[in-house]
Symmetry: C2
DNA sequence: TGTACATCAGTGAACGCGCGTTCACTGATGTAC
DNA sequence: TGTACATCAGTGAACGCGCGTTCACTGATGTAC
C-alpha cells in the first residue's frame, strides 16, 4: 500500500511516501531540523519536559527514526544545547552595542519566549543535574557569552573587565530566571527585569 | 501476622508494628519529616527528579501513605518549597552581616550542597515550569530574601537600596546556578563564585 | 552507461520500566455513651 | 471510669500511563561491477 503523507513542519515542508529512502542531503537536513526543534523545546520545557516522541512529531517525523540520528536522548540534549548557544551567539552579534543587548536580554518579550532565548536562563538549573558531557557544552557556551560581554564593556571601570563581565552575566541570567519563576502578574516579574537592567546599564556605560 | 519493622530515619527514628495506628502528634511529626525530606530532595534533584516512592522511602515510610497527607505531588512541591524558604530565612538570620552572608552563599561548600542551600539557586529553573501556586510560593520566599538583603545594605550607595538588593540577589542566584551547571573541575565553576563574590562585596561595603 | 544489490533513513508496533495515584486492609487511637 | 465502635495513618499490591528504546519492515538511494 502506498500512502502519501504530507509533513507539515517549519520552515521548509517536505512530502514523501512511506518506506521511501531519502537522499543523504535530505537526511542531513532532517537531522538538523530535529536538533533545531529540540533546541527550542528543551529551552521551553526543560530536558525532562520533552518526550522523544513529542519532539520527533514536532519536527515532522515519527519517533522510531530518532535512533538513526542520535545515540540517546542525552546525546541529543548536548547537541541541542550547543545549537542553542550558537543561535544565541548570532543573536549577540546582531546587537549594536552592550546597552542594546542588555535591553533586549532583560525585556518582557525575552522573558516570555524562552524557546528562542538564552540557553543559560532556560536550562542552567537542568544542566546542573545532567551529565558531565552536557555540562561541558554548557560551559563552552557560557564562556563565549562572558567573553562577548567583556568585549562590549567600556574601558576602565571598577575592577578587571573579565570580572565585571562575569558579574554582569550572572546578574542577567539570574534576573531572567527569577523573573520566569514568579507568576506573570506578580510585581517581582517586571521589577526583576527593570531593576537589573538599570543596574546593568550603569555597569555598561560608566 | 505481626511483623515488627524498624524504621531507620533521621533524626529521631521510630519503631512500630504493621497496621498500628499512630497518635495525632506522631502523624503530624511524620508529615513534617516527609516535607523536610522533600525539601532537601527536590533541591538536590529537581521536582521531576524525585519519585513519590523514593521520597517516602527516604523519609522512612512506604509510598501508599503519601496521599493521607498530601493531595498530590504538586501540592507537596509547593509546601516543600515554602519549607525550604523558611529554612533559608533562618540561615540568613544566623549571618553576622551581609558580607558574611555573601561569603557563605557564594562558597564552594554551598555550591556542593544544593539540598540544604538556597531554593532559588536550586529550583528557579524548575519553578518556571510549575503551576501558578508553586510560583506564588517561590515569589513570597524571594521577596523575603530581597528584603533581608536590602536590610543588610549600607546606607547611601549608588541608586535606591531596593534596586541594589534586587541586583544583588539576581547576581548571587545567577552565579550559584551557573557554577553548578558547569563541570566541577572547569575553571568557570570557581571563577563564577569568586568573581561574583568580589563584585557583590564591593556593592555591600561601599 | 546500465544492471544488481546492499544500504539506511524512514515507519509504526512493541518492549520493559518507573511513574503518580488508588485501593483494600490493619488495628491502636480517639470518641461517644 | 469502662465499654463499644468509628476513625485514619500506616502498609503493600495493583492500576493505567507515558517514557526511552528496540525492532522488523520498506523501498529509493547509493554503489559495485
Amino acid at each position: 500500500m502506498m500512502m502519501t503523507i504530507i509533513i507539515i513542519a517549519a520552515p521548509g515542508f517536505v512530502k514523501w511516501d512511506v518506506g521511501m529512502r531519502i537522499s543523504k542531503a535530505q537526511a542531513q537536513e532532517n537531522r538538523e531540523r530535529v536538533v533545531a526543534t529540540a533546541s527550542a523545546l528543551f529551552r521551553a520545557n526543560g530536558f525532562d519536559g520533552v518526550a522523544v516522541g513529542d519532539l520527533m512529531k514536532a519536527a515532522g517525523f515519527t519517533h522510531g527514526g530518532f535512533y538513526n540520528h542520535f545515540g540517546s536522548k542525552e546525546a541529543l540534549a548536548a547537541e541541542a544545547l550547543g545549537g542553542a548557544w550558537e543561535e544565541m551567539g548570532r543573536e549577540r552579534a546582531r546587537a549594536r552595542d552592550l546597552p542594546q543587548l542588555l535591553k533586549r536580554y532583560l525585556s518582557w518579550p525575552a522573558r516570555q519566549a524562552p524557546a528562542k532565548g538564552c540557553p543559560a536562563a532556560a536550562l542552567a538549573g537542568d544542566v546542573g543535574r545532567q551529565s558531565r558531557a552536557v555540562k561541558a557544552v554548557f560551559a563552552d557556551g557560557l564562556e563565549g557569552m562572558i567573553q562577548s560581554i567583556e568585549e562590549g564593556l567600556p574601558k576602565g571601570g571598577d575592577g578587571p573587565a573579565r570580572e565585571r563581565a562575569v558579574n554582569l552575566v550572572a546578574r542577567m541570567v539570574g534576573a531572567l530566571m527569577l523573573s520566569r519563576a514568579v507568576p506573570d502578574d506578580h510585581p517581582l516579574a517586571l521589577e526583576l527585569l527593570n531593576a537589573t537592567l538599570r543596574g546593568a546599564l550603569r555597569e555598561a556605560t560608566d
